[in-house]
């Protein structure tokens, strides 16, 4: 039975500044909230900083977690209000049906695979064996490429993104025929992290984009799989958690 959690973070504390600066630190703190088999469960998380003074950490975990350690180190342990909320996720999964519409938000790490990358970094000189017999994953770094990455893959995740609603043009102002209508999704945040792992001198780069928009369910089973198992790479570092909300104002 999956659970969705929401933990509020106090950005003024030393522990939270370490968390907010480093996805590896959040990964450790999130895994620390899973009691029994933290390495076997697929735990997804996302940091939402709509209000930068009040960031929220969302976590989806297969078993019921406990966030006391994050609240004690990086929250407001003595303050009023809800330090962390944990809700059963199954009611939402039961509501998924073909044609149903939701607002969604997703932080993902769009990548493309290439066997012949350009550039001369140490990483790109690795042999296929050192890369575990796969090709190089290169980040999509422009907003247009990141948006294309999302739109090309939505069908296999069980949803599609409808065209944005637009008013008809004023009379006499005909639009060019070849103009394709825009999809109802936008990138609200793009960022780049350099992550240095212990024992390595070179930093790994993580390029993320946060998408927000409207979606229409086309295949509830595929969507459920995508929601529980995450979307795209870098799932340990805050990517891949797709959350749904009621489509307000539509």
């Amino acid at each position: 039975m999956p659970f969705l959690s929401r933990i509020r973070i106090n950005p003024l504390r030393a522990a939270s500044q370490k968390l907010l600066a480093n996805p590896r630190a959040i990964h450790g703190a999130v895994q620390g909230g899973i009691a029994d088999r933290p390495t076997d469960e697929r735990v997804l998380w996302r940091l939402d900083s709509d209000n930068p003074h009040r960031p929220m950490l969302f976590v989806l975990s297969p078993s019921r977690p406990d966030w006391t350690h994050i609240v004690e180190q990086a929250g407001w342990p003595d303050a009023d209000g809800e330090h962390s909320a944990i809700a059963d996720y199954t009611p939402l999964l039961a509501q998924l049906a073909i044609g149903k519409e939701f607002a969604f938000r997703l932080t993902a790490s769009p990548v493309q695979n290439s066997s012949k990358p350009t550039g001369d970094s140490e990483h790109r000189k690795k042999t296929p064996k050192e890369l575990h017999q796969r090709s190089y994953r290169l980040p999509q770094r422009t907003a247009a490429h990141q948006l294309d990455w999302l739109l090309q893959r939505t069908t296999r995740w069980g949803f599609d993104i409808p065209h944005a609603r637009t008013d008809p043009a004023a009379p006499g102002l005909a639009l060019p025929e070849q103009l394709t209508p825009a999809h109802d999704v936008r990138i609200i945040d793009r960022s780049r992290h350099n992550i240095t792992k212990p024992g390595s001198k070179t930093a790994a780069t993580l390029t993320t984009a946060t998408f927000e928009g409207f979606m229409r369910v086309t295949d509830p089973r595929l969507l459920e799989t995508a929601m529980l198992n995450g979307i795209g790479p870098s799932k340990a570092y805050g990517c891949g958690l797709l959350t749904l909300a009621p489509p307000a104002g539509r």
């Binding site: 709509d50 809700a87 044609g99 519409e101 909300a245 009621p246 307000a248 104002g249």
Partner: protein, 273 residues
């Protein structure tokens, strides 16, 4: 975006409030596991109307099958699992499915004394059902719901509805318009919780987003719950095309001063039940 085809324009709409301690709307349950859909089924609502009109179980349902149905989820409720056991009061083992040469069911061997069944219910749920159809039929049904010939039930005989069922009079307009304008029917505790949450998260409380399912010939989902016959030995069902949508319904709570503030993305808004 799909567009709504006002197939019910000009026809009156009967609005029913489906609320009770327990409800159970099964569509394909059989044997030991009786599940419930998260929303009322068309067979459940037509069965309720047929009971109100005093139709026997074998009656011809042709008139009622022309009705168009829209369901709005005002309060989703929570799921209740009833762990249920069955045994023989004389203390004998239960019969198995195989029969003897005389055509009598054989007893289980090794002896099995208890059958386990699961029955699922929605508890503390409130739905709004809008039904449109030809005027004489709808007027007759509106009258019948106020003076039902048989006791009414919410999906199963044991699920007694709470008053009022009929919300007074008939509405005009399409199913979608009626569902979007009818006041929110959620209970007092649910309304208070909504108001408190809106205040805490600084979002608007004057409207609430409710999910709805309506009959639509161009809809993209299918529900297999249209009853062809309720006769005990001849129960048959067929399917209908439906469409899921969202409605923004007035709550009666005051609007905030800043009328343009858009609510932020809240993943917990859908996990209320």
């Amino acid at each position: 975006m799909t567009t709504y085809h006002p197939t019910s324009g000009g026809e009156p709409v009967l609005v029913l409030r489906l609320a009770g301690v327990l409800q159970s709307w099964g569509d394909r349950s059989a044997f030991n596991r009786r599940e419930t859909r998260p929303e009322p089924t068309k067979s459940g609502v037509i069965g309720l109307l047929a009971a109100a009109a005093g139709l026997p179980r074998e009656a011809d349902l042709t008139d009622l099958l022309g009705l168009r149905l829209g369901i709005r989820v005002d309060q989703a409720g929570t799921l209740l699992r009833d762990y249920h056991t069955v045994s023989d009061y004389r203390g004998r083992p239960l019969p198995q499915t195989g029969v003897s040469a005389k055509g009598v069911q054989k007893l289980t061997s090794p002896a099995k004394d208890t059958h386990v069944t699961h029955r699922f219910y929605l508890q503390d749920a409130v739905f709004l059902a809008a039904i449109s159809g030809p005027r004489p039929l709808i007027e007759g049904l509106a009258d019948a719901v106020l003076r039902p010939a048989f006791p009414l039930a919410l999906g199963r005989r044991s699920c007694v509805p709470s008053q009022p069922i009929a919300l007074g009079g008939l509405r005009e307009g399409t199913l979608l318009d009626v569902l979007a304008t009818e006041p929110w029917q959620a209970g007092e505790a649910h309304r208070d919780a909504y108001w408190r949450t809106a205040k805490r998260t600084n979002t608007r409380a004057d409207h609430v987003d409710l999910s709805a399912t309506i009959d639509d010939d161009n809809g993209d989902d299918v529900a297999h719950d249209v009853p062809l016959s309720f006769a005990p030995r001849e129960r048959r069902f067929t399917s209908r095309r439906i469409r899921h949508t969202w409605l923004s319904v007035p709550t009666g709570f005051p609007a905030p001063d800043d009328a343009t503030a858009a609510p932020a993305h809240d993943p917990f808004a859908l996990l209320g039940w």
